[in-house]
Symmetry: C2
Subunit: 125 residues, 2 copies
């Protein structure tokens, strides 16, 4: 069975994004992928990856040369789902404010909505 919940910190989440995006990543790849302006030291990334490994969010998949490659264990979906649920709590479980903000900030398109509607109808059956 899957781990209860893995609580990731902001920085950990930030690093996870790269792991998810890259599929499989070495410390150096992640380090270089981070915009120079906010790039932490190489060893900082390493430390975080080690902690992520301890938390069970990533695992070492294989080695290339003497470098480890890390791979996500937790999916972006499930991690995101938890965060969304937490966010909803903030609004007492009502998703309306959330959707409203997405629209206000132009992140939710009409197309997205149509798609959502379809999903909903399909689901209803």
């Amino acid at each position: 069975m899957p781990k209860k919940h893995i609580r990731l910190t902001r920085l950990e989440l930030e690093i996870m994004r790269y792991v998810w995006d890259l599929g499989e990543a070495a410390v150096r790849e992640i380090h270089e992928a981070i915009p120079a302006s906010k790039r932490p030291a190489y060893t900082t990334i390493q430390t975080i990856l080690t902690r992520l490994e301890e938390k069970g969010a990533v695992r070492r998949s294989r080695k290339i040369g003497n470098a480890h490659l890390y791979q996500a264990v937790t999916t972006r979906q499930s991690t995101g789902a938890r965060l969304i649920d937490e966010l909803l709590d903030l609004f007492g479980g009502d998703s309306e404010p959330l959707v409203a903000h997405l629209i206000d900030s132009g992140k939710l398109t009409l197309e997205d909505v149509k798609h959502a509607e379809e999903l909903l109808k399909k689901r209803r059956k």
Copy 2:
């Protein structure tokens, strides 16, 4: 001008929820409003409120007897908006996965979607 960003921790956010819900709240009110099973010590709430005050998220509005009443400075909306945006970053700015999860977990109704659609159409003009 408003503070750059106020970064609230999980517990702080939890407490803010009560402040928002109650409009104006004393430490004791919040303390009692929290379900006994997860209720921290009275002074813990107090500490958090003091920190929230330092961060500029709440302010002391007035006193009742010798107790301070706290009031939110930051709105639930703006705080939520920031969190949503952070969440979106996780998905590379694509709100689809977010909406999909809302639907999967039954939090987004067809009615919500219709409403969103209207908003969008209005906004497009």
